[in-house]
Symmetry: C2
Subunit: 123 residues, 2 copies
Amino acid sequence: MAADPLSRVFAALADPTRRDLVARLAVADATVGDLAEPYDVSVQAVSKHLRVLEDAGLVSRSRDAQRRPVHLEAEVLDLMTAWIERYRRQAEERYRRLDDVLASMPDDSDSTTGPTTERGNPS
Amino acid sequence: MAADPLSRVFAALADPTRRDLVARLAVADATVGDLAEPYDVSVQAVSKHLRVLEDAGLVSRSRDAQRRPVHLEAEVLDLMTAWIERYRRQAEERYRRLDDVLASMPDDSDSTTGPTTERGNPS
DNA sequence: CGCCTCCTCAACCAAGTGGTTGACAAAGGT
DNA sequence: ACCTTTGTCAACCACTTGGTTGAGGAGGCG
């Protein structure tokens, strides 16, 4: 399974059931049984989902008698927002610069096809 | 494949190669060949990755002769940040309230074990 | 002690994923 | 007109995934 943390977090949240679990855990800690109840899948399936979330660092399980209360570790979410925001902003910045270029260019029928012209090719 | 848009976006970014593609596309549009060059996988593999990104709405492909310049559609990222932020904030809020409760409670040796006590059990 | 509850582990299965290779369409270059 | 470049489609493969059932461990309860 994907070694890097970021992939694990993204993958963990790529499942609707898992996202719903996170949503519910944002409200309150809960036991596996409580969490499983609304969905019509087995408790084992939910337990597996929780393990995925745990491996992603999104959730922690402690002990309370036979119960294993699940707790949301929300900090990991910042990892994602950091990544996302970085590139969203970068893309925005690029569009802004492109607009500037286009604005300062009266008309040039060759470059209207695409911005491919200013590509910085590696190697 | 996961029907809902949010799952598709999360799943799309759960792969390091795909995240790298997004990162590079944030800088500039590029052709499939350009994008494939740095990785030591086939062009077909990259083309597949791009399709996943496209299905997630993260990327669009146009035409320029035989080339198919790929363009990043950064707006979809907001879908994710919206989701993430919502629950991160909700969790934070909860911790704040819990702190308040604990602060207003001098000492109660029974409730120190866990916050399980204030669980709102359904049905 | 014996049972019942809560949960995980193990084995299995169908479907999806990331990769490969091979064939081929589309468009230019010569 | 050919050949080359650029990219997709299709078939195939190993592996992962989300689900199932069955067994079992850990810990109260009568």
